[in-house]
Amino acid sequence: MNDCEVVTLPNVLGGDVLPVEQFYAALAEVPKAKQYILDAKHISFVKPYGIIALLLATRQLAAHSEYPLQLKNIPSNIHSYLQRMNFFNVSHNWLTTPDTLEESWARSAYTPNLLEITVISNSDDVLNIVSRASRIFSRWLILPDLNGLLSVISELCANVYEHSQDQLGCVLIQKHSSEQQGYVQVHLSVGDIGCGIRGSLAAIHKDIGPEPIKHLLAVMQGRTSRQTGRGGLGLPRVEQIVRQQNGYLWIRSETAALLRRGANDLIQKTSLTYLPGTQIAIGFQAPLSS
């Protein structure tokens, strides 16, 4: 085992799902080490899915190293943004926080621009997250777009605490608006490194087989791990809302993923780099509330 390994983070982390996949693939090649250093010199922009990827990767690496990871060469604007996103508080057990910024970005539960990284451990967390998102996005989104978003958040976050077996799954949401063009773009990501969709379904749906992609397809068709037979509606409903919004949905679990863009068919991806749990990215554009 090496003493130290440096992992260079790709640029535009989360610009699309592709750089994140390249990041996961690069991580899988990193030799075992007592300590890891994450070199952030190439990062110039981050999106929620990229931040979730960075957080989950940090957890994964920290689980196999003797010391917390170090984040180096981080541009000050990215540092500031990650701090605003609550990244360093959530990751403090796995990552040594870089030097404190001279000018820190004040965080407030009433800031109307974003929902910072929030851990989901129980149903009260889900209610608090949706309630907070409602306060934030009621300024920007009109009905039914707002309620569509809140329904999506509720269903996805509930899946984390009900099915993932990961007490540290989390969600975050970013928005960009253009008053001139009258629209708002919403980017949402939810992720965990728990048992994954296969792990959740396999115990009572032995007919599905071993491939993660088949479990992903099964869950989109409403299969549920509940013995009562109720449930299994969350992801199909999320997909329906995203389709109605003409948005995109990326849902990844283990080595498989499904992608939907607008009304197009679901695209299946297999043979991805293994990552435990489930990671989801959603984006859509909606008219700006006047």
């Binding site: 409602s134 509720s154 509606l233 409903r237």
Partner: protein, 191 residues
């Protein structure tokens, strides 16, 4: 009128205002609604009143309202039923999405204090038409419906019975020299 204000759940279930979310909370809401429904006299409806601008997500709806609807159809509550008031269009969309996903033949009456009503969920067009006829009469029997719509009595009787099975209408019976006759009527929520 027997009514239950869903705002009472804010305190009982620690729910944020206007948000009826998650399967957990829906399951807890079911227990409360079940108790409320069992407490009212048979052949009466429970008016479930939702607050303005609320959002009911699919999971909450599945575990509460829809589960209650399924139990009503299977006869767990004798001749009692529920009427829903004040649901927003987004909540209705979520409820109907669950009914569609689960391929349920389940419908609810959405009523307004003005006396207006509409049916949400899955109901065949012929039954919806019959429901509207029942709603416009004080009461109706199968021969009367058959006469009105030019149907065979069996057919009319079948339509009314199917509406009753879903507790979308009330049913009484009388025994006369013609034998047993069922008399159907619409629910009244303005008492």
């Amino acid at each position: 009128m027997n009514l239950y204000e869903m705002t009472q759940l804010y305190k009982e279930l620690n729910l944020p205002e206007s948000l009826f979310l998650t399967r957990d909370k829906g399951g807890q809401a079911y227990q409360i609604l079940e108790t409320q429904l069992k407490a009212i006299p048979d052949k009466h409806p429970l008016l479930v009143v939702f607050p303005p601008d609320q959002l009911v997500d699919g999971s909450f709806a599945d575990e509460s309202i829809i589960r209650l609807g399924e139990a009503i159809v299977t006869g767990d509550f004798a001749d009692r039923s529920i009427l829903l008031q004040g649901l927003t269009s987004d909540s209705i969309t979520n409820i109907e999405a669950v009914i569609t996903f689960r391929k349920l033949k389940l419908a609810f009456l959405l009523v307004e204090p003005t006396g207006d009503w509409k049916c949400i969920g899955q109901l065949e067009p012929s039954l919806l038409e019959t429901l509207a006829i029942v709603a416009n009469q004080t009461h109706i029997t199968a021969p009367e419906l058959a006469d009105m719509k030019g149907l065979a009595i069996n057919s009319a009787s079948n339509r009314l019975k199917r509406l009753y099975n879903q507790r979308l209408v009330r049913r009484e019976h009388e025994i006369s020299d013609k034998g047993l006759q069922y008399i159907y009527s619409f629910w009244n929520w303005s008492e």
